[in-house]
């Protein structure tokens, strides 16, 4: 009880109305914002709403580092895949440094989603049957010859030749609309040490050689029509073009080359992405050809690759190209000038370093720059989700009721202040949670509900610290108004120090931990901050105002501030004077 000097802050006392108005405006504004944004309830997590939540952990065994860039790429790609399943509400996010969480709302085929998400390679080499740029203008249906997909050397050919022969209808749903500028490529040539041997294509059948076998049925026409209609300049069409295409069947696809969107009619997959053993970006110092991507194939891949390149090399533009198709999108379409055997090839063109590395990444790991391992899969039915939400709310209500009962019994009239503050705090928490859903993707899950309930205690503790301080001052014989003003600065410091410790714990947990712990830590941190706001801008001003009321000031039996039952000293009459300043100056005067 030292330091009475810096006891009061006159300003806080004199303008309690202003603080109250401030917090009222803040509440109204936030609530208004909440209704305006249309998100009037907090977004529920999978465990409360039902659905499937998959946690994947990156493995660092593929030679590519687990860093932010790689994780972001992976998230981006997974997002495309999952949302390609036809649900738009799936969400993919990183958590911690090496985890990715995929949340799929109920009603989706979670098993398919699981397969999609974890798959590393969805990369295919498909021969190009036809290709042309899509003009942003709109429909440019006429398949007229245009410039080649690859910026430079290979002048692209007329798509006409091949079109008719493809089969199977494949246009299907899904996949993202993300535009990712990918490398332009042009020449694909044999590696420096080619064994220019023949290895003539033995397996003529399996490999595409576009036209070939299957061109007769109705699928052909459908695919051709789809190709004709396809306008890759439109994001919405790109999103659906060629998704869910079976590797063994021809398909349409889009690809962006030099910022121009091209559409492709592609044959069945010739080589699978998994058959690429390794790919890397290298800078060709000898021929000054700039950045190149070198590929090594597995032995079976090498054979297939030799076959397909052998066939393609004899064709015209653009049918001497093959599309490197990643998750339904053509990322590169180099042309082939000769059969490439020996399992080693390089793609050259006017790559920047980044483009080359990005392409190399795609070739090495399929879609994902990292490989992932399923850490946990939680499937919650809507029924159980609802039950858990119900239980959480019930627990909260019981907890709140117990606290209120305790406060009423112990603090009587004062508990009104505490309850009003708790209500304020609850409103703020609810509104902020609702707003944070769309803003930062906050989803209320069970641990978060738990955190909010635990926070009732933390918030109420602040009031207790304050009230006990006021009571201490009253016990010393002060009347209420000076007691409030003297108690505040000390209570304030205690509240700040202890809330800071709480917040520190929440912040550390939030940053360091993964999984459910994070949701819990977030709520705890949020409510701790709100606690400080409420105590400063609501509880204290309200207390100051109430201290002027007779009921409290005169220590009514039910006010919770009855000096007698608090065991105050015989009242020092003279201290009952203009509150704040007097309190401090009492001592010297009475000396």
């Amino acid at each position: 009880m030292a330091a009475p000097k810096r006891g009061r802050s006159a300003s806080a006392q004199s303008k309690p109305g202003r603080s109250l108005a401030f917090i009222l405006i803040a509440i109204v504004a936030l609530t208004g914002g909440m209704f305006a944004s249309g998100h009037t309830t907090p977004r529920l997590g999978i465990d409360l709403a039902g659905g499937t939540s998959i946690t994947l952990q990156a493995k660092a065994d593929q030679g590519s580092a687990i860093n932010k860039a790689n994780m972001d790429t992976a998230v981006d790609i997974m997002n495309r895949r999952v949302n390609g399943l036809g649900v738009s509400e799936a969400e993919v996010q990183t958590q911690g440094t090496s985890n990715i969480i995929v949340n799929i709302p109920k009603g989706t085929n979670s098993e398919e989603a699981r397969q999609q998400v974890g798959t590393t390679a969805k990369l295919y080499f498909r021969p190009v049957l036809a290709s042309e740029p899509s003009t942003p203008a709109g429909q440019s249906p006429s398949p007229s010859p245009t410039s080649s997909p690859s910026g430079s050397p290979s002048p692209s050919g007329s798509p006409t030749a091949s079109g008719e022969k493809a089969s199977s209808s494949s246009a299907s749903p899904s996949a993202s609309a993300t535009t990712q500028g990918r490398a332009v490529t042009d020449a694909l040539k044999a590696d420096s040490n080619p064994s220019p041997s023949a290895t003539p294509s033995t397996s003529a059948s399996a490999t595409p050689s576009a036209p070939a076998s299957d061109g007769t049925d109705g699928g052909t026409a459908a695919l051709q029509a789809a190709y004709t209609k396809l306008n890759c300049a439109k994001a919405s069409e790109r999103a659906t073009a060629g998704q869910n295409a079976k590797p063994g069947e021809p398909t349409v696809a889009c690809g962006q080359i030099n910022k121009v969107w091209y559409k492709y009619l592609l044959g069945p997959s010739a080589v699978d992405g998994t058959e690429v053993k390794k790919a890397q970006a290298v800078y060709d110092t000898q021929t000054a050809a700039g950045w190149q991507v070198q590929m090594n194939f597995t032995s079976s891949g090498a054979k297939k690759f030799a076959d397909i390149t052998g066939q393609l090399a004899q064709k015209q533009q653009p049918q001497n190209e093959f599309g490197i198709v990643l998750d339904g999108e053509v990322v590169s379409s180099p042309y082939v000038s000769q059969s490439i055997t020996g399992g080693q090839a390089e793609i050259s063109g006017s790559f920047t370093q980044e483009e080359a590395q990005s392409l190399a990444n795609v070739l090495s790991y399929g879609a994902l720059p990292l490989s992932f391992k399923e850490q946990s899969v939680t499937t919650v039915t809507a029924a159980l989700g609802g039950e858990q939400l119900h239980a959480g709310l019930l627990a909260g209500a019981i907890g709140l009721a117990l606290v209120v009962v305790y406060l009423v019994i112990y603090y009587r009239g004062l508990s009104l202040v505490a309850m009003a503050s708790l209500v304020t705090s609850a409103i703020l928490t609810y509104v902020l949670m609702s707003l944070l859903g769309p803003a930062i993707g906050f989803a209320l899950n069970l641990p978060a509900v738990c955190g909010a309930i635990v926070a009732i205690g933390i918030t109420a503790d602040s009031f207790i610290v304050f009230f006990e301080r006021i009571r201490d001052e009253i016990r010393q014989g002060r009347s209420l108004r000076p007691a409030v003003e003297r108690a505040w600065p000390r209570a304030r410091r205690t509240i700040l120090v202890s809330d800071f410790v709480s917040f520190l714990a929440a912040a550390v947990l939030f940053i360091v931990t993964v999984g459910k712990v994070q949701g819990f830590a977030f709520t705890l941190g949020l409510t701790t901050v709100l606690d400080v706001v409420v105590v400063f801008f609501f509880t204290k001003p309200l207390m100051t105002i109430l201290a002027r009321r007779k009921f409290f000031a005169q220590g009514h039996k039910w006010s919770g501030l009855d000096p007698k039952s608090l065991g105050a000293k015989p009242p020092l009459r003279r201290t009952r004077r203009p509150a704040g300043p007097a309190a401090g100056s009492v001592d010297p005067k009475e000396a």
Binding site: L394, G457, V497
Partner: protein, 368 residues
């Protein structure tokens, strides 16, 4: 209220007080005993690690008439691993299968659904890879470490290093006791438990900080008086904030109790239950340690300071003198007034030394 309020008043005026600091050896002893028990428990029995730490699956079914024993048999057959089945408050079953591969889960789930005559869509599945729990635990340890370092730095700045050390000891004490209880009782450890445990971090310190805050305030001018030693004031601080500590602890425990009741009684098991159980145990330990361990420890550390030693000597000398002069002789507990007054006492020597008069407190304070 009035009784507790009176208690608060009497504690406040120092009419009654408990000598926490003086009897600290007893409490240290008790704590050491509990801690040893906890450690032995941990070493001998170990923790009952939940499915999240071994990898496996937990299936939760809606209400079903299949008996527990039967379900266990079905599940073991379907998964090829031992299954543990619990009946839930909702009438459903909770089927735990340890060591199951995440890849096999869908097949198992389908088979289980068939056996139990349920729609597979209605079964909740929680599949966990073997390293997931480990990852959570490792992260938690990391968080714990970082938090401890930060909080010690913060407390050392906000208060002083001795308090930081004492708070840290109290914190470790709480965590040890909580894990010990988990080991001894055999509660299952899940990620939820870890969440609860980590929350104790902030919460256990809350009480400690409240006491330290009051202690810091009251000992500010300690060297300017000769009536009370550091330990005396520390004891006063504890007593003065005792009602507050009790209230904050009770109020913190009430919502957790609500959670525990609902989580344990209604849902039977799961996150709510796990979090609240460890919170409950930890909060109780935290309240105990901030009063009985942390503050006496600060006093102990403080009393080693030469300054405080000198003060103690002066105080004891003065007390001896007073005792000789005056039969009244204040026992330590009687001397529980305001340190403010204590400070004043130096300035205003006319103040009667430790006497019943302290009970009425204020007048002397005003006499400066």
């Amino acid at each position: 209220m009035s009784k507790l309020g009176n208690l608060g008043a009497r504690l406040h005026h120092g009419e009654i007080s408990y000598d926490f600091v003086g009897k600290r050896k007893i409490w240290y002893g008790i704590s050491i005993l509990i801690t040893i028990t906890a450690i032995v428990g941990l070493a001998v029995r170990g923790l009952n690690m939940g499915i999240d730490f071994q990898g496996g699956a937990v299936f939760t079914t809606p209400k079903t008439s299949v008996s527990v024993a039967q379900a266990e048999e079905y599940a073991s057959q379907a998964a090829g691993h031992e299954a543990v089945v619990q009946k839930l408050g909702t009438g459903g079953l909770r089927i735990q299968i340890a060591g199951m591969d995440t890849g096999k889960s869908d097949a198992t789930k389908a088979e289980l659904a068939k056996d139990l005559n349920l729609n597979p869509e209605a079964i909740n599945a929680d599949l966990v890879g073997p390293s997931w729990g480990e990852q959570i635990a490792n992260k938690a340890w990391e968080g714990l470490g970082i938090f401890m370092v930060l909080v010690v730095i913060y407390l050392a700045i906000a208060f002083e290093w001795r308090m930081a050390v004492a708070a840290l000891v109290a914190l470790i004490h709480d965590i040890t006791i909580t894990t010990g209880i988990y080991a001894l009782v055999g509660f299952e450890v899940t990620p939820g438990t870890i969440i609860g445990l980590l929350t104790i971090l902030g919460y256990s310190l809350y009480d400690t900080v409240v006491v330290f805050d009051s202690l810091k305030e009251q000992t500010k001018d300690i060297t300017r008086q000769t009536r009370l030693t550091y330990s005396d004031i520390a004891n006063q601080s504890i007593n003065g904030t005792l009602v507050r500590s009790i209230n904050t602890t009770v109020v913190a425990l009430l919502p957790v109790a609500g959670l525990l009741f609902i989580g344990g009684g209604f849902l039977g098991a799961g996150t709510l239950n796990d979090i609240s159980l460890s919170l409950f145990v930890g909060l109780a330990a935290g309240a105990y340690s901030s009063i009985f361990i942390a503050t006496p420890l600060v006093a102990d550390l403080k009393e080693r300071e030469p300054q405080m030693k000198a003060l103690k000597k002066r105080v004891l000398a003065k007390r001896a003198q007073a005792a000789a002069e005056d039969e009244l002789v204040g026992s330590r507990s009687v001397a529980a007034g305001e340190p403010e007054d204590a400070a004043a006492a130096v300035v205003g020597p006319r103040n009667q030394p430790a006497s019943r008069g302290r009970g009425r407190g204020r007048p002397s304070g005003k006499r400066q």
